[in-house]
Symmetry: C2
Subunit: 561 residues, 2 copies
């Protein structure tokens, strides 16, 4: 099998699965991404492991469920010791580089406890979730009355803008993330109303073209083999895009909102609390959708154009022949569906992502342009990459599975019967409003191809959707007596998953199996006499002799002998 | 509250809960341990977290369930990054020292990955599960045809024996762990038949008196405050004890075996596979019990005498006034009950341990000599010790709870409704015999005061015992239609436990709660316009101004302006 030499791992942020024409969007034409789909496999049921940037990404990077790695929210550091795709790939002889966003927060306390110097090679890798950093730009550098949100982060792009003459102490905010009124007042892209304005920046200088160029800069100088995580900041909010994309879409291009009065009126109390947040209320207003969604579509259209630029360049430079290209997102965006904004809940708009994988190997020719209906999780990417790098997948650490057999047409399904997604809202004001403790502020989603169960800890009834008969997820069957058996079965899935052995990371499954043979090193359990042992095992016992203790040389005082 | 200055944390190995007179043994009088019970609180429902040395101890030392720390078996290293009582106690200003056994296996691979030098202070602590080592003796240094079991371990006691004139390349084996026939042939204590012989060693030189002396050596030189883990190797097998203890007990002193023909005939298939092991079959023979149990009782009687020596010395030196004493075991021993030998299953003989805590503080006067019926787990010890050291218990890391409120008479119960115990037999030949995969070779025990459920992964029916009406655990109700509701409720407990947030170790619960207030640092989610924000939050946005991008200085070539 001729594996690709390199991996270009493109991630967009908050790119909803159905906002690409290859996934069915009617008005948003994304011919370049569609072209990638025609060259590879488009996955139709790819789920992220948490509907929030940081936790979803930590699952992608570690190849492990949130319940396993513990970085349950954007502010929660990934603990020292968790291995990531970078660790596995470097061990397999493939570099692993970052260009863009990770949302990683380092476990500074843990690093200090173990004496890891932040500026050492190991320290930097631990702090950057295993990547070697070509450029990190986590985006979003606003400030408020309490000061700058992230004084140390996201410096590179700001430096770039300053060098290009964008004069401001924070050009990222004042130009890339803002519009402008006639008096030169910043119309912050952080306010949804201002999404209708064009961003105050020359389009080639905006975030997505900038990072595309940086990705190309990396590839130009990279030594083979490499994995490059080209990780875009957009189309994540602030929802504001420069011309010509700002004028490209209008309210007439917005897909109908997916919601019903019934789902709000009979909402599960936890789901209702999420609907009742400011962002849920905002996106329930048509004027907000009319302002935001055209800008969101513009950001995606711009992203697609940049993919065209990138793919053309890869063709020209020969990299298209030796590089696997993976394109995905860290989660979706409700955009008013289900009376919700943002993500942080479990309908497909939030938890399902686009996933397209192009494998240049001849073995993958048979699947080009195909659509795969398998249940896929974002934790499958790390094992896929390790597989591409030619190493054995460490299945005691990585909880996903390699997708290479699907890409090579050897199978059409993964081994799993259900996908998992989790959200920890213990740090959210929603938990206060519901009166839910830190321990109980966890939600689990279990989804088969047919059913989706959402289980909120703390004694709530579950939610249940019939994905076959109600693909829009508008009818919550969680209190339906007719579905008790289904609910019970979904809870069994949850329990089986939750009791998995996820922390035995120091011994492989093969090592555990090998131990079943036992050893002949003298630990003899349950043998009454020598005859109970094999001849070989006992020979040393029989041959040993010793004097009686009282006959020993130098019998000390105080001995009873 | 006047907390004790020091903690003497005594652990015996494989000391079954009911083999002490204070716990009801009829023929085995342990007046010294009983005296400790009369001075403190004796816990009647103390459960270990895994019925195997290493995993049980790693739970005790980390204060976390096996499902959380992942060291699921004796050979499975505790992964780098897991904090232990040593880390927590030193942070609270209390030293944490080892004298004796831990069964720790270091995560050498993880240490290498993080660049931790094995001989650095941090490296040694990581490798010794957080203890500073005064002396480590893990016991059991036999050899077989494949060589020595543990060429690097357990050296100190062997050195000691050699210095005392016990001439052999392995005096631990030839003297302490063996009897002798007339020709000077070693009668290995590893063979159960030889348990009837006296060990070939002067009693004061045997393991338990030796370690008692080493514990006293530690205390003599220790700086306050300290926690000393005095961790005995016995009465764990090899079951062989020197005179006078070897002759102290005979078959007439053995308690009746606790088993029934019915439990073997209708045994759950996994339980049956455990019964069918060599050790289960051996201990089902009366001659084995007759040879082994008197020696086991002798080892315990010797241990009790050593406790008398130790406690008297603590009185004389004044340490009894400022030192908390904790006495427990890492698991029990079936000794033929339930047709089983060893531990590794879930009846009380294996999973319940003696736990006695003496707190010298005046606040504890009210509970002296009392028996506590609370559901206690061995993971409660680490938080208890942190509490004694005067620090806040880090409840995002330690999963148990401090027992100080019980010791001080403020409550009689812990907060839990059930205890948990786990066993991973994926490295055992039993898994091969059952044809169980590494993923499915896990067993969970959930026990309330009334019921005990045993759940074997892999599609087996559960086992269920009614602890109130069948305290001997002889009637398995796991397939009883009358108990479906109870079983369902116990499975709910298991699911709730398994879905707990056990890996979010980098953020405390208080930190998560504090984040609910949000911040005013410029991340504005879901606000349509400035009016949606507080006056304070928006002031910086309003005051900012910027020029149009095309007006900037140094407009570069290629710009569309």
């Amino acid at each position: 099998m001729a594996n690709p030499k390199n991996i270009l791992f493109v991630m967009f942020d908050q790119l909803r699965w159905d906002y690409l024409s290859c996934y069915g969007h009617e008005h948003l034409h994304t011919p370049n991404i569609d072209r990638l789909a025609s060259m590879g496999v488009r996955f139709n049921r790819a789920y992220i492991q948490s509907p929030i940037c940081g936790s979803s990404r930590m699952s992608t990077y570690t190849g492990r469920y949130v319940h396993s790695h513990g970085a349950t929210g954007n502010g929660v550091p990934l603990k020292v010791g968790e291995m990531t795709m970078g660790d596995h790939l470097r061990a397999a002889g493939m570099g692993c580089w970052l260009v863009g966003k990770t949302h990683m927060r380092a476990d500074a306390e843990g690093m200090k406890r173990l004496g890891l110097e932040p500026d050492s090679l190991i320290g930097v890798r631990v702090a950057e979730c295993g990547f070697d950093v070509f450029e990190r730009d986590d985006g979003m550098l606003p400030e408020g009355p309490d000061g700058s949100y992230d004084p140390d982060g996201a410096k590179e792009y700001n430096k770039h803008l300053k060098a290009k003459g964008y004069e401001s102490d924070n050009p990222w905010h004042d130009f890339a993330n803002s519009g402008l009124d006639e008096d030169g007042n910043v119309l912050s892209g952080w306010f949804l109303k201002n999404s209708a304005f064009a961003a105050n920046i020359d389009e080639p200088d905006s975030e997505t073209p900038y990072l595309t160029g940086r990705g190309m800069d990396f590839i130009k100088q990279a030594q083979d083999p490499w994995c490059c995580h080209l990780s875009y900041i957009k189309p994540h909010w602030p929802y504001i895009v420069p011309e010509p994309y700002a004028s490209m879409f209008g309210p007439e291009h917005i897909q109908p909102v997916n919601r019903s009065d019934a789902e709000r009126q009979h909402a599960h109390p936890v789901f209702k609390a999420f609907m009742d947040t400011r962002v849920g209320q905002s996106f329930s207003r048509q004027e907000v959708r009319d302002a935001v969604i055209p800008a969101y579509m513009g950001l995606i259209k711009q992203s697609d154009d940049q993919m065209g630029r990138l793919f053309d360049w890869l063709e020209e430079t020969g990299r298209m022949q030796d590089t696997m290209i993976v394109l995905t997102s860290d989660h979706g965006d409700f955009l008013g569906d289900h009376w919700m904004g943002e993500k942080t809940f479990f309908q497909d708009a939030s938890t399902k992502v686009p996933l397209i994988i192009y494998d240049p190997s001849p073995e993958a020719d048979a699947t080009r342009g195909s659509v795969c209906d398998a249940l896929v999780e974002c934790i499958d990417l790390a094992p896929t990459f390790v597989d591409v790098a030619g190493a054995d997948v460490p299945d005691h650490i990585l909880e996903g599975e390699s997708l290479l057999p699907i890409l090579r047409g050897q199978t059409t399904e993964t081994h799993r019967d259900f996908v998992m997604c989790e959200y920890d809202y213990s740090a959210s004001p929603i938990a206060d409003r519901l009166g839910v403790s830190v321990e109980d502020a966890n939600i689990y989603m279990v989804a088969t191809k047919r059913w989706k169960l959402i289980h909120c800890l703390g004694g709530y009834r579950p939610m249940l959707f019939d994905l076959e008969n109600d693909p829009k997820e508008l009818v919550d069957l969680g209190d339906s007596a007719d579905h008790e058996d289904v609910i019970s079965q979904m809870f069994d899935h949850l329990r089986n998953w939750a009791t998995r052995n996820s922390q035995r990371q120091t011994m492989s499954k093969a090592q555990m199996t090998a131990l079943r043979r036992g050893s002949d090193k003298g630990i003899v359990i349950g043998a009454y006499e020598e005859g109970d042992m094999s001849e070989r095992a006992t020979v040393k016992y029989r041959n040993r002799t010793a004097p009686h203790w009282s006959k020993r040389h130098g019998n000390p005082a105080g001995s009873k002998s």
